[in-house]
């Protein structure tokens, strides 16, 4: 019987020897693991993420070995102390020594775990001065990035088409992981990330950076990251934030400093160019084409791809009073939103050109035929300026 137990223990250890292999396979620094290779936490590209990974592995292995020991005893008695083998039950119970031991030993193991955990946690709370400050604002269902003091600010939202989500178009490699514009950060620099939200609570999570922080409306939160390796890192919203919770991914593009500076300069000049663009007059075709794209990104998820809405929740635009009525009302609701409903004030999120295009589109698409059917960026500009 004892030899049986020995064999069992030996067999168990043999099986466990395979586990480090799994571990190694998962730790392979190759591209993002997928399919059956997707087994473990990424080690990530920051010192924090590396430390978090190490703690995760230490605790996992401690748990595995405790499990092996405890279940080992259990499986041994399940096998050896079966009634069918004629085992007679013992009648022992209560033993202060044993009970003290199994209280104190686990407590000691916990203390061992607490040390690395405390150190890493303190590192997370480092508040030394950063090289770059970025404010991240969560919206239903997109992210806005403001580079503080750099006059650069943009919205980043899902670039995957509704057709692809609903199976009417193929799903490409970065299905639900692609955005209209990624967050660009320099490598080797401390980037301070300030989180807040404009409506409900969101949570900005990029596993490779070991950053997950809630974005809470009315409050500002901070965390930081120093990325060691250039690359594209993908993340997601982690706090249930309504209908399109699963459809507001995050893409971080970490680039060398020089490249970052060039990108920043380009963005700054784009900001200036956009202001000039609002002066130009567009044709209806130009506006319709642009408007269809904007509509697909910003409006279709609630109002439907064909303006049909969702009965009882989101009004239809096809044949709606707003889309067929006076242009001023239509402009007003899109730019300023509607208090107490999910209709946001898009004036703060979309450019004048995009706003003009999407309103024009809504007034002409799906058989809508309104009197004033063209809205120019300058009209939006005027409304925003309060003229």
């Amino acid at each position: 019987m004892v030899s049986t137990a020995k064999q069992l223990v030996r067999g168990g250890i043999g099986a466990l020897a395979l586990l480090p292999w799994i571990h190694a396979a998962a730790a392979e620094p190759a591209a993002q693991p997928s399919g059956w290779n997707l087994l473990n936490m990424p080690q990530g590209v920051t010192s924090v993420s590396q430390n978090v990974y190490d703690i995760h592995m230490i605790v996992t292995w401690i748990c595995v070995w405790i499990g092996v020991a405890v279940f080992g005893v259990m499986f041994y008695s399940m096998f050896a102390h079966r009634k069918s083998r004629g085992h007679q039950p013992a009648n022992f119970h209560e033993s202060t020594k044993v009970e003290l031991a199994w209280t104190i030993v686990p407590a000691l193991i916990l203390i061992v775990m607490a040390f690395p955990a405390t150190t890493t946690l303190k590192e997370l709370y480092d508040t030394s001065e950063a090289d770059l400050d970025i404010k991240i604002t969560g919206y239903q269902w997109k992210w806005k990035y403001d580079y503080l003091g750099k006059d650069v600010s943009f919205i980043s939202e899902l670039a995957t088409s509704q057709a692809s989500i609903y199976g009417n178009a193929p799903k490409t490699e970065f299905y639900l992981e692609e955005v209209t514009e990624p967050l660009v950060i320099p490598v080797g620099k401390k980037v301070r990330l300030l989180m807040t939200a404009a409506d409900v609570i969101h949570s900005w999570w990029v596993p490779a950076l070991a950053v997950k922080r809630d974005a809470i409306p009315g409050f500002v939160n901070e965390t930081w990251a120093r990325v060691d390796k250039p690359g594209i890192y993908r993340g997601r919203c982690a706090e249930l934030c309504g209908k399109d919770h699963a459809f507001m991914p995050i893409v971080v593009n970490a680039v060398p400093e020089a490249e970052f500076n060039a990108w920043l300069a380009k963005k700054q000049s784009e900001t200036t160019a956009m202001r000039a663009l609002t002066e130009k007059t567009f044709t209806q075709d130009e506006l319709m084409a642009k408007g269809e794209a904007v509509y697909g990104r910003s409006c279709a998820s609630c109002h439907g791809a064909a303006g049909e809405g969702i009965a009882g929740v989101f009004p239809a635009l096809k044949g709606s009073k707003i889309a067929l009525g006076p242009v001023a009302d239509h402009l007003n609701i899109v730019v300023n939103g509607k208090s107490g409903t999910a209709m946001q004030a898009f004036g703060a999120q979309l450019s004048e050109v995009d706003l003009a295009a999407v309103i024009t589109y809504e007034r002409n698409a799906w058989g809508n035929k309104s009197e004033d059917n063209i809205v120019q960026p300058v009209d939006v500009f005027k409304l925003k300026k309060g003229q």
């Binding site: 693991p33 924090v48 703690i55 605790v59 008695s77 916990l110 409900v200």
Partner: protein, 517 residues
């Protein structure tokens, strides 16, 4: 007291007998289990492959929310109340519960609470879609109009729970047979006594949370609204002050069931009775001081994170004591493997795995990665399904011969067990991988690298769901046509007062108190 049950529907509507009410609780919770399970099937079917195929994201959120609410409040909590009603009087030698009429009321308001909750599915705006944790402001400013029905439903369910626990406390403290001292009570009774105290302490806090929501939504207060000086994070503190004890409310009676079944089929007394009692009390106490470990990413001060991390890690100690006790009880016993024992052993293994992942989640810096991911989903299903549900399934197999005087079909029971056990692990083990690799919970759709394990998980879920129909069939077949038995002590190794009364248990037991050795 020689009369039997009343005839017809009146027996159930006006029931005051603890056995009748226990039966109704058990059937009600099974019905809710099937309903909540159906919602889970919708969720897993949508997640079978990437892309939206079956439902819209809006409805998906309603399904995850309703699944959570129905399972927690409608299936798991009532099933243990049902077991408590049936077994506690028989275990302590009492003729009935202390407050039979309140017992009737606390059961009969439940169907109304859940009817109200479920009816929102057919209303304009749809059912609650903000998750079973209903974080503000998603559940207040941005909630569908049906949120008021949800709040009212929660109030009813809470009132039922509070009445139920007052009844249990009054029964245990006052109706024990002479000689049945507190430290002689079966562990199931002890765990329920502790659970009932937890319920009385925290269900009112839940009621407070939804009342504050109600006032924010309808009366313009600003408890959780930053615009008026409130704070959405306050909601999370209030909710988890209720929520963490709540998950122990669910699991502690399960400890009691397992502590009854393992000694029976090991034919050996429980190893450390008193240390089990103290460990349960310690777990209950700790549950009040660890709540913010659910909120490691909201931006607490460092000192707060450290405190909640250390306090949470401490829970591993009394939990370990329990697991070690069960295993030592089995050690050198004479073990047989009837269906209840199989479920109990699976409970020990899978609950311990859930405990390990719980310990991992307690490590605050690592929780940054685990939080709100599928790793958490896997963790709490190991504790809720393999913990609470497996133990209540074990309890039904264990006590149904005593309830009905008929033996269930052992082969079918074993098939049910093995299919459940395998399917459960196929469903939930891969979810650890998904979470670690970065898939957040409550996602209606996911990117392509998560596809394979999600498909595995869905297949497991369908099998798990199907195996519960086998359970239903086995229970009905037992009641209708099971082999009749009459031995009061159904199981060879069973100890306790409930095994001294005739089988099937007569309508009235212990009208005169038994003598306690």
């Amino acid at each position: 007291m020689a009369h039997g049950p009343a005839k017809g529907i009146g027996r159930w509507l006006r029931a005051t007998n603890h056995k009748d009410i226990g039966t109704m609780y058990l059937w009600f919770s099974f019905a809710m289990f099937l309903l909540g399970g159906f919602f889970a099937m919708v969720v897993r079917a949508e997640l079978f492959e990437p892309g939206m195929q079956i439902v819209k994201p809006e409805f998906f959120n309603q399904m995850t929310t309703m699944h959570g609410l129905i399972m927690v409040f409608g299936a798991i909590m009532p099933v243990f109340v049902g077991l408590a009603n049936w077994m506690i009087p028989m275990m302590i030698g009492a003729p009935d519960m202390a407050l039979p009429r309140m017992n009737n009321l606390s059961f009969w308001i439940l169907p109304f609470g859940f009817a109200l909750l479920a009816s929102t599915l057919f209303m304009e705006g749809g059912a609650p879609n903000f998750g079973w944790t209903f974080y503000a402001p998603l559940s207040t400013t941005y909630a569908p109009p049906t949120v008021n029905f949800f709040i009212f439903g929660v109030h009813i369910i809470g009132a039922s729970s509070i009445m139920g626990s007052i009844n249990i406390i009054a029964t245990i403290l006052n109706l024990r047979a002479p000689g049945m001292t507190l430290m002689k009570m079966p562990l199931f009774v002890w765990t329920w006594l502790i659970t009932a105290f937890l319920l009385i302490a925290v269900m009112p806090v839940l009621a407070g949370a939804v009342t504050m929501m109600l006032m924010d939504i309808n009366f313009g207060t600003s408890f959780f609204n930053a615009a008026g000086g409130g704070d959405p994070v306050l909601f999370q503190h209030v909710f988890w002050f209720f929520g963490h004890p709540e998950v122990y409310i669910i699991i502690i009676p399960a400890f009691g069931v397992i502590s009854a079944i393992i000694p029976t089929f090991s034919r050996k007394p429980l190893f450390g009775y008193s240390s089990m009692v103290y460990a349960t009390a310690a777990i209950a106490f700790l549950s009040f001081i660890v709540w913010a470990h659910h909120m490691f990413t909201v931006g607490m001060p460092l000192a707060g994170e450290l405190y909640f991390m250390y306090a949470t890690m401490l829970i591993a100690v009394p939990t370990g004591v329990k697991v070690f006790n069960w295993i030592t009880t089995m050690f050198r016993g004479a073990i047989t493997y009837e269906t209840p024992m199989l479920f109990a052993i699976a409970f020990v293994i899978l609950f311990t795995i859930g405990g390990f992942t719980g310990l991992m989640l307690a490590i605050a810096p690592a929780d940054i990665q685990y939080h709100d991911s599928y790793f958490v989903v896997a963790h709490f299903h190991y504790v809720m399904v393999a913990g609470a549900l497996f133990s209540s399934t074990a309890a039904v197999y264990y006590w149904i011969p005593k309830w009905t005087g008929r033996m269930y079909n052992e082969t079918m029971g074993k098939v049910h067990f093995w299919v459940s056990f395998v399917a459960f692990n196929v469903t939930f083990f891969p979810q650890h991988f998904l979470g670690l690799a970065g898939m957040p919970r409550r996602y209606a759709d996911y990117s392509l690298q998560f596809a394979d394990w999600n498909m595995v998980s869905s297949i497991g879920a369908f099998a798990y769901g199907a195996s519960q129909l086998l359970f239903l069939y086995n229970v009905i077949a037992t009641i209708v046509a099971g082999r009749k038995i009459s031995d009061p002590k159904v199981w060879e190794g069973a100890e306790g007062l409930e095994w001294t009364v005739p089988t099937p248990a007569p309508y009235h037991t212990f009208s005169t108190p038994p003598a306690i050795k």
